[in-house]
């Protein structure tokens, strides 16, 4: 012991100067790295209970599938809903589901922040050399949420097979862009919702309105909803950019708000803006926590 540790001390010269490069690593990279390390641990933990994992993954899949079953039941009574056919609604549904599923998988644990503050375990994250956001986001990483993504992609696949779309290279490129940007928009809602809990510890449900509620909204055509509601989710909480606006372009349908065609290419821009705002909200929230302690 004496040898080992005292050697350690002498190796650590000069004191106070960190190993080379410690300051220069960009926080984004550090965050991703920490996130990767943490989710790997959670995946291993999950695999300790394989049967339970299989059952909950199936449950996750089934729970989401019910939404679609409800839509199918509706279409057993009508041919069109808000002027949209079943494959068209399926396209909206699949795109929203896949984007939301991706965000839920990667950032779905943000709603536990209030609980972590209350039971004091947030403090244990603050003494580690990694961004707190990455640690909170990776907390309880749940692979079972793949069930939701799978379900969304299956419905999207069904829509693509049955829809008669005049494909252009631009429209093809639109698909992955739409899902990734949509996931980023939802992810920033998760992060902003988490940040909100720094002030309102018990308000986890508020973010459910925007996340789960948002994805439910986006599963239906915009023509179903009141114009003001559509305006709200276009200009205030820009969820319309997750699937509505780009999907309408792909399906050659008119935008109910009469937005120009180029709006369909905005999702990546909107996503970056949302992430920046959410990051800012998180910083302000964390700073408030560190100065008030609760």
């Amino acid at each position: 012991m004496a040898d080992g540790l005292s050697e350690g001390v002498s190796e650590r010269v000069p004191k106070g100067v960190p190993p080379e490069g410690e300051w220069s690593r960009p926080p984004l990279w550090e965050g991703l790295r920490a996130y990767g390390l943490i989710i790997a641990m959670w995946i291993r933990s999950t695999m300790a209970y394989r049967a339970s994992f299989a059952m909950t993954a199936f449950g996750n899949f089934a729970a989401t599938a019910f939404d679609f079953v409800a839509i199918l039941l509706m279409f057993s009574h009508v041919d069109r809903l808000g002027g949209y056919s079943l494959p068209e609604v399926a396209f909206l549904y699949g795109a929203a589901g896949a984007a939301f599923g991706l965000a839920d998988l990667t950032f779905g644990s943000m709603d536990r922040l209030g609980r972590r503050v209350r039971d004091g375990t947030l403090d244990t994250l603050l003494v580690r050399p990694a961004p707190v956001l990455a640690q909170v986001a990776g907390d309880r990483f749940a692979l079972r949420r793949l069930g939701r993504i799978t379900q969304g992609l299956l419905v999207l696949g069904y829509a693509l097979v049955t829809l008669d779309i005049a494909w252009t290279p631009l429209k093809v490129a639109m698909l992955p862009m739409m899902i990734l940007s949509g996931a980023a928009i939802f992810a920033s809602v998760f992060v902003a919702g988490g940040a909100f809990q720094f002030w309102a510890l018990d308000a986890a449900e508020v973010q459910n309105s925007f996340t789960y509620g948002g994805t439910t909204l986006l599963q239906y055509p915009p023509t179903v909803f009141a114009k003001d509601l559509v305006r709200g989710v276009t200009f205030v909480v820009p969820l319309a950019f997750v699937n509505w606006i780009p999907a309408l372009y792909v399906m050659d349908r008119e935008d109910p708000l009469g937005l120009p065609d180029w709006a369909a290419f905005l999702p990546p821009v909107v996503a970056v803006g949302c992430c920046a705002l959410a990051g800012l909200a998180w910083r302000v929230g964390l700073r408030a926590y560190r100065s008030t302690g609760s």
Partner: protein, 266 residues
């Protein structure tokens, strides 16, 4: 009896403490209410009288669903996680030696919770929905009373099902899966996704006689005045029948489980 009244009051107060959570929940119920109400409007505009409801009744059904979602614990939540934990850790042995009955104890506590959720989470979303949508509200105060009684029976059925789920922890190492599947069934067969009257053919017939229809479909139909006279009695009998059957099954399982615990010495 006194004891259980105190337990019920405790259940009420326990949920009443979390005001922010209640406000946040009301907000969520309202948002979902709006979204679903618009989709129903689109559906009923094309098919007036679908499932026997007119547009206003259909939208009222949506808001009733949001109001009763927590009250009748359609997605679960409430006592069963706690009871499962106590069973898994063995703490339930202490409960069994108490001079109170396990099932009645948790029932009282859950009734207190349901009462709070009806008041705290049920009224405001409905009122907010009423500001924007044309709701069908009963004019006859007796219908309101009948509705409350039907909700009460619905809570009993909901409790009885969740009690069975919780007791499964005596035999299964991991009760989470059973819970999840039961609650999925609850979501689907209570009528929360769509009124059960819209379910086609055999699926609809089966769904309407399963216990979960007591949680939303039956109370909503009572509210909308679709059960009157002997039909109303029949609806109550349906709910009460399921409640008694499931509560009795719970008692049976409880006594088997108790013997097990006693034999194992806790």
């Amino acid at each position: 009896m006194r004891l259980y009244a105190v337990v019920a009051a405790g259940g009420f107060r326990r949920y009443a403490t979390y005001r922010t959570a209640t406000a946040a929940g009301v907000f969520t119920n309202t948002v979902f209410g709006f979204i679903v109400a618009y989709t129903y409007t689109a559906l009923w505009e094309q098919r007036p009288q679908l499932g026997g409801y007119d547009l206003s009744q259909a939208v009222t059904y949506v808001w009733l669903g949001q109001s009763l979602l927590m009250t009748c614990a359609m997605m679960g939540g409430g006592f069963e996680d706690e009871l499962m934990d106590r069973i898994r850790t063995g703490d339930v042995a202490i409960d069994l030696y108490r001079p109170a009955d396990l099932q009645l104890w948790w029932l009282a506590s859950d009734l207190g919770r349901a009462a709070f959720h009806l008041l705290g989470r049920g009224i405001v979303p409905m009122a907010l929905g009423g500001l924007v949508f044309d709701l069908t509200l009963p004019g006859n105060p007796l219908v309101w009373l009948a509705f409350l009684f039907s909700v009460f029976l619905g809570v009993l059925v909901s409790f009885a099902v969740r009690f069975l789920v919780a007791l499964s922890a005596f035999w299964l190492l991991d009760g989470a899966g059973v819970g999840q599947i039961t609650f999925l069934a609850g979501m689907f067969f209570s009528g929360m996704l769509l009124p059960l009257t819209l379910f086609p053919g055999l699926l609809g017939e089966v769904a309407r006689v399963l216990p979960w229809s007591s949680l939303l479909q039956v109370p909503a139909d009572v509210f909308l005045g679709r059960h009157t006279g002997w039909g109303l009695v029949g609806a109550f009998a349906f709910q009460a029948g399921w409640a008694l059957a499931l509560l009795a099954l719970g008692r049976l399982l409880q006594s088997v489980a108790t013997r097990r615990v006693v034999v194992q010495g806790g």
